[in-house]
Amino acid sequence: MMMMIGLYNYWVVMVLMMIGLYIVIAHGNLIKKIVGLNIFQTSVFIFYISLAKVEGGTAPILAEGINLYSNPLPHVLILTAIVVGISTTALGLALVVRIKEAYGTMEEEDIQKKDNQEC
């Protein structure tokens, strides 16, 4: 029980991660897949941010009386990863738009069917 409460941030991360991955795998709609991918990536962002927290620490600002502060490095790292995530989403959605134009559908099954007919 202590493990559940003490490490609750990791549980949240794991649950989000699994939800995200499940959506990517199980859903046939291309936009839903991208959303799943986003949830999956966001869980990793939360993981990084939560591991930077130092108990009792404040924001990492140089000021008098502040000796204990959270680790700023993971925040900076994840800022980069968020940018990467946004670019991935943008590119993925752009691809979906063009797939919709070319195939007339956004469902994985229909696309596969149309591809198989061509072969």
């Binding site: 980069t80 670019s87 991935t88 590119l91 691809l95 063009r98 070319a102």
Partner: protein, 492 residues
């Protein structure tokens, strides 16, 4: 100037990508891209020269000392990979302008070169950097531009292939990101050399095991190791010809580098191979990959598909060599990284030439091409022989060392299986040769001309390299040998 070579290696193509936007005129941009890629090649040659004479180069970005700042660390392995990537990129670019004329709409030509340069930047960055988070960033730079490049293919299936690659690639990269986070949590550092020192203390914890698992799965997704290769055949087959050549010759090699760097330098070998059963796993997956992919290749009707599956099989050879776990085995892998870049570069470029003249690379379009495009088809034959591993070609050199390493270790069944795998390569190469040389062109079909010079020059440059390095093995063997010795000798 010379001390700044490690960063120039990465910065030059990055800045060049931005400058392309100003130049705008496609032909001008092509010449600019070619010259910039040539410059990175010269830089990497100079770097290799420096490393060979004076040992590992350490470069601190912005003058910040290592654990705080990002550090670029170029040792023999890095320099060797940098040279392969920049050389292949330059050779491929010679044919680029001619090839994309038919395959990409004119208003997108400049964008094509920008993406190409960004992808090159990413790959060079992955290899040059000594910081694990930096690896992730560069990995995404190269991957994102690669997805966009693949989506430029003429066929609508290129879009679908790019989408699938995007999903798989992002999952892989995010796995690597998770691993980096877990490792950082345990050690408090992101620098590879620092990690190598601090990881053994915490090596028995479950967190590090989890990190290692995420890392390996993530890299294997990028590597297209069987059974995680599903994105690769379609991505290679429907991408524009030039993109296929570039990716086939470089992208998976970078992933092989990452695998070696992480398992040998960051985590040490005893952790990767004895604490966890990576060796057994990889030998089995590598061998299954060789056979499954080679057999699938035999049944392909699209020649680009055929060689894409053959690439998956070749990755199998690299992984088998790697997992033998001796200096000779690793050397065979490193040799194969170089040799495979040469042969697949030549083969896919020749296919690009066929695409340019015939407009399709379906096997039934190859009827009679042996007479109509004799120089291109001869290149395919020599490239194919190299793929099989016939003596006097580079393919023979790496297979030789691979089998030698397997026998040294007493793994003779593996050696036998490697030879059997080569027999399968004979079958699929023969299918193309048979169609091209022994079938008459269909009556009434329009005869095609030989490929233009812009194709023949780089193709035969690579074919000549295939033969040259197959005969004179001194350079490659000594560099690959020294690199693998240093990986076994201790810290990076």
């Amino acid at each position: 100037m010379l001390t700044h070579l490690p960063i120039l290696q990465v910065i030059v193509p990055l800045m060049a990508a931005a400058l392309c936007l100003i130049l705008r005129h496609p032909r001008l941009v092509w010449m600019f891209t070619l010259s910039m890629s040539g410059l990175t090649f010269l830089i990497s040659a100079a770097l290799l020269q420096q490393v060979v004479t004076s040992g590992t180069i350490i470069y601190e970005l912005g003058g910040w000392e290592a654990p705080w700042g990002i550090e670029y660390r170029i040792d023999l392995l890095n320099a060797y990979l940098l040279l392969i990537i920049s050389a292949m990129s330059t050779v491929v670019l010679i044919a680029a302008q001619t090839s994309i004329e038919n395959e990409i709409p004119k208003d997108r030509h400049v964008l094509f070169y920008i993406l190409y340069l960004l992808s090159l930047t990413g790959m060079l960055g992955i290899v040059a950097t000594g910081d694990v988070f930096n690896v992730f960033v560069f990995l995404e730079i190269s991957s994102l531009s690669a997805y966009a490049l693949i989506a430029m293919g003429k066929d609508r299936r290129a879009l679908w292939a790019a989408y699938q690659y995007l999903i798989m690639g992002t999952i892989g990269a995010t796995f690597i990101l998770i691993a980096v986070g877990l490792i950082y949590q345990m050690t408090g550092t992101l620098n590879m050399a620092d990690l190598a020192e601090r990881l053994p203390e915490v090596a028995h914890t479950r967190t590090v095991f989890a990190a290692f698992a995420f890392l390996i799965v993530g890299i294997c997704l990028k590597l297209a190791l069987f059974p995680l290769h599903l994105w690769l055949p379609n991505a290679y087959a429907y991408a524009p010809s030039i993109v296929t050549v570039f990716l086939a010759a470089t992208a998976t090699k970078v992933a092989v580098y990452l695998l070696i760097r992480f398992t040998f330098s960051v985590f040490d070998l005893s952790f990767s191979f004895t604490t966890l059963p990576l060796q057994t796993l990889f030998v089995i997956l590598g061998l299954i990959g060789i056979f499954a992919a080679s057999i699938t290749a035999i049944y392909q009707r699209n020649v680009k598909h055929l060689f894409a599956y053959s690439s998956v099989a070749q990755i199998g050879y690299m992984i088998v060599g790697y997992s033998i776990g001796t200096a000779t085995g690793l050397m065979a892998t490193l040799l194969h990284v170089f040799n495979h870049a040469l042969m697949k570069g030549a083969l896919f470029l020749a296919l690009g030439a066929v695409m340019y003249r015939v407009g399709s690379v379906q096997l039934n379009q190859f009827h009679g091409l042996g007479r109509q495009m004799p120089i291109t088809m001869a290149a395919i034959v020599i490239g194919g022989l190299s793929l099989i591993g016939v003596p006097l070609t580079v393919g023979f050199v790496s297979k030789w060392y691979l089998i030698l390493a397997a026998l040294e270790n007493g793994w003779w069944p593996v050696a036998v299986l490697i030879l059997l795998g080569s027999l399968l390569a004979i079958v699929y190469v023969w299918r193309i040769v048979e169609v091209a040389y022994f079938r008459e062109a269909e009556a009434g079909s329009i005869p095609v001309k030989e490929a233009p010079m812009a194709f023949l020059l780089p193709i035969w440059l690579l074919v000549a390299a295939n033969i040259y390095f197959g005969v004179d093995t001194q350079l490659t063997v000594s560099v690959a040998g020294a690199a693998s010795q240093s990986l076994f000798g201790g810290s990076p």
